[in-house]
C-alpha cells in the first residue's frame, strides 16, 4: 500500500492518496472534499433548510414537554395530562437562545416560537379549549418524541456513559430517593414499589432518557431556526455550508451538561447530577443519531416481519429502521411515529416548500410523502455533519498533507459508509433529484 502512495505523493499535482475503491467511493470523495452525503444542488439546499424550519417548530414543543414529563409529571400513574406542559415550561427560556443565554450563537428568542403558540391555540380546526384540541388529535404529536426517547432506552449501549450510569448503584440510590419522595403520600404506590422495585426503576430510566432527549433538542431547535433565517437572508451558498454550520454547532454545545432533575413539591432531586460530567455530544447527540437515525425498530403497521426467517436482525446494532433506511411511502401512511412527525411538520412548511410539493408527484395529495423524503435528505445532511464533526474531533483536517492522516480519514469515512451498503439504505436514492 505504501509504494503507490509514495509514488503519487511525489507528483505535486496528483492526490496524496489513491482513489477509494469502496462502493460509495463517489460519496466518500465528496466527504473528503468537505461535502455532504447529500449532493450540493440548489434544490437540495432549499429542501433541507425548509424542512429544518418545519421541524424546529414542533421540536420547540417536544423539548419543553419532554423536560416537563421528566421533571414534573415523573411517575404519575395516570399521566392523562402529560402532553399539557405547564406555562412555566412553555415559557422556560431556551438555554441556548435569547438574551439570557450564556452562549449567544443563534439569534432566536428564548420563548416558545410564535408559530408554535399560534398552532397550539387554533390547530387545524379553530380556537377551542386545549382539551378539545387534544381529544380531537388536533395538536403536536408528542407520541413521536416519546418514541424517539424510548428507542434510545431500548437500544441503550450506543457509546457514551449515560447507560452505564443508569445501571450504577449511585443512580439506583438517587432514583430510590425520588420515587419515595414522589409517593410519600401514596401508600398504595409505595407498597407496589416495595413489591416491584425494578418496574419503577425501569420507568425512571425511561424518564431519564426523556430528559436526555429534551436537553438534546433544546439545542437543535434554535440551530434549525437560525439556519432557516440565514437561508432566507441568502446566507448559505450550498449544502456544504449548511452542513458546516451544523458541524460548528455540534462543537459549540458539545460540552453542554446532560442531567435529570426531578421537582417534587418544589424540592429538586438530582437523579443524574450535572456533576457526573455527562455531555451533549457523547451522552445525547451520538446515542440519539445511532438510535433514531440508524436503528429504531420495525414499526407495526408498515410491514410483516418474520424474525425466524432472519428478516429482523438478531443483533440490535444491525437494526436499520431509522430515517436513513426508511421506505417513506408505507412509513408515511401508517399512522406510526414517523407519520406523526410528518403530520407535525406539514403545519409549518415554508411557502417555497409547499410550492415545490405542488409541482411534483400528486401535488398536495401526497405532500406528507414528499416532505418525508425531504426530511430523509435533510437527515442525511445532519448525519454528514455528525460524521464530519467526528472526523474533525478524532482524526485529521481535510486539508492535511500527511498521506497517513488522509488514509486514516479515508478508513473512517469508509467505515461510516459501510453502514449504507445494505439494500434498505436510501443513500443511493437521495443522489437523484427524481426521488420524491
Amino acid at each position: 500500500m505504501t509504494t503507490p502512495i509514495a509514488a503519487v505523493a511525489n507528483c505535486p499535482s496528483a492526490p496524496l492518496i489513491p482513489p477509494s475503491q469502496h462502493p460509495w467511493a463517489e460519496v466518500i470523495h465528496r466527504l473528503e472534499a468537505g461535502g455532504s452525503m447529500l449532493p450540493d444542488t440548489p434544490e437540495n439546499l432549499m429542501q433541507i433548510i425548509g424542512i429544518y424550519k418545519a421541524y424546529a417548530v414542533p421540536m420547540d414543543f417536544y423539548w419543553r414537554d419532554l423536560l416537563y414529563i421528566a421533571e414534573q409529571v415523573f411517575l404519575d400513574p395516570l399521566p392523562a395530562f402529560k402532553y399539557f406542559p405547564s406555562q412555566e415550561y412553555l415559557e422556560r427560556p431556551n438555554a441556548y437562545a435569547g438574551e439570557q443565554s450564556k452562549l449567544r450563537l443563534w439569534r432566536g428568542g428564548e420563548q416558545a416560537h410564535p408559530e408554535l403558540l399560534a398552532f397550539m391555540a387554533r390547530g387545524e380546526t379553530t380556537a377551542m379549549p386545549k382539551l378539545l384540541h387534544h381529544l380531537w388529535h388536533d395538536r403536536i404529536n408528542m407520541e413521536f418524541a416519546e418514541a424517539c426517547a424510548q428507542a434510545m432506552l431500548w437500544h441503550q449501549a450506543m457509546g457514551g456513559r449515560f447507560n452505564d450510569y443508569l445501571e450504577s448503584e449511585a443512580y439506583r440510590a438517587n432514583a430510590d430517593r425520588a420515587i419515595k419522595a414522589y409517593f410519600r403520600r401514596n401508600p398504595l404506590m409505595l407498597g407496589l414499589y416495595q413489591a416491584f422495585p425494578e418496574m419503577f426503576l425501569e420507568k425512571v430510566k425511561q424518564l431519564s432518557y426523556y430528559a436526555n432527549l429534551g436537553l438534546f433538542w433544546e439545542v437543535m431547535a434554535p440551530v434549525f431556526f437560525e439556519m432557516s433565517d440565514i437561508y432566507d437572508e441568502g446566507g448559505f451558498q450550498g449544502v456544504p455550508d449548511a452542513m458546516n454550520f451544523l458541524v460548528k454547532g455540534i462543537f459549540a454545545v458539545a460540552g453542554r451538561p446532560i442531567y435529570h432533575h426531578v421537582f417534587i413539591d418544589g424540592e429538586c432531586i438530582e437523579i443524574i447530577p450535572k456533576a457526573e460530567g455527562f455531555t451533549w455530544l457523547y451522552e445525547a447527540a451520538l446515542p440519539y443519531v445511532e438510535a433514531v437515525f440508524y436503528r429504531t425498530s420495525p414499526f407495526r403497521g408498515t410491514k410483516s416481519y418474520n424474525a425466524q426467517a432472519g428478516q429482523v436482525p438478531s443483533h440490535q446494532a444491525d437494526f436499520h429502521y431509522g430515517i436513513l433506511y426508511a421506505d417513506v411511502y408505507p412509513v408515511g401512511s401508517a399512522g406510526i411515529p414517523p407519520t406523526l412527525l410528518m403530520q407535525d411538520m406539514v403545519h409549518f412548511l415554508p411557502p417555497y416548500l409547499k410550492e415545490l410539493y405542488k409541482q411534483h408527484r400528486r401535488g398536495e395529495q401526497d405532500q406528507l410523502i414528499q416532505l418525508g423524503i425531504t426530511f430523509q435528505r435533510s437527515m442525511y445532511n445532519v448525519t454528514s455533519a455528525v460524521i464530519q464533526a467526528l472526523r474533525a474531533a478524532l482524526f485529521y483536517p481535510l486539508d492535511d498533507t500527511d498521506p497517513e492522516h488522509l488514509l486514516a480519514n479515508r478508513r473512517f469515512f469508509e467505515g461510516q459508509m459501510d453502514r449504507f451498503l445494505r439494500p434498505e439504505a436510501r443513500l443511493g436514492a437521495i443522489q437523484s433529484q427524481d426521488y420524491r
Binding site: 452562549l103 450563537l105 458541524v247 462543537f251 458539545a254 450535572k274 460530567g277 455531555t279 482524526f395
Partner: protein, 133 residues
C-alpha cells in the same frame, strides 16, 4: 525541578490550559506528588476549536474537567515508554491511542515537544486538543 503546573506557567504558551485547569478544580490534584503524564495542548490548539466550544466547557466545569482528564495519565511516562503500548487509559477513563512514533502522535495530535520532566510527572506538548471517542 518544577512541578507540572509551574513548568506550564513558565512556558508561557499554556494560558488557556492553565485557566481551564484552575476552573475545573484540578490544580490541587496536578500539584500533588502524582506522578502524572500530561498531554498539554498549546493555546493555539484551544483557539482552533470552533467558536463556543471552550466557552460551553468553561461554563460547565464538571464537563470541562472530564475533557481535561482525558489529557492526563496516571504515572510518569516518557515518549519511549508511551510508544511501546498502543493505547493508554486516561484519568477520564477512555483510552488514548498512540498512533505514531515518528513523528510522535497521540491520537490526532502531534507532540511538538516530548519529555518535559517535572517533579511530579512528565509533560508532552501537543498541537491539538484531544477528545474521547
Amino acid at each position: 525541578m518544577a512541578s507540572i503546573l509551574d513548568t506550564a506557567r513558565a512556558a508561557g504558551c499554556f494560558t488557556t490550559l492553565l485557566t481551564a485547569v484552575e476552573l475545573a478544580g484540578l490544580s490541587a490534584a496536578l500539584d500533588s506528588p502524582g506522578p502524572f503524564t500530561v498531554f498539554a495542548p498549546v493555546d493555539e490548539a484551544f483557539a482552533a476549536l470552533p467558536p463556543g466550544t471552550v466557552q460551553t466547557l468553561v461554563d460547565n466545569t464538571p464537563q470541562l474537567a472530564r475533557i481535561l482528564k482525558y489529557h492526563v495519565l496516571a504515572g510518569a511516562w516518557s515518549r519511549d515508554q508511551l510508544i511501546d503500548q498502543a493505547q493508554w487509559i486516561s484519568l477520564e477513563g477512555a483510552p488514548v491511542p498512540i498512533r505514531r512514533a515518528t513523528p510522535f502522535e497521540v491520537k490526532n495530535a502531534t507532540v511538538v515537544t516530548a519529555d518535559l520532566l517535572c517533579d511530579n510527572g512528565v509533560v508532552h506538548v501537543i498541537n491539538r486538543v484531544i477528545l474521547p471517542g
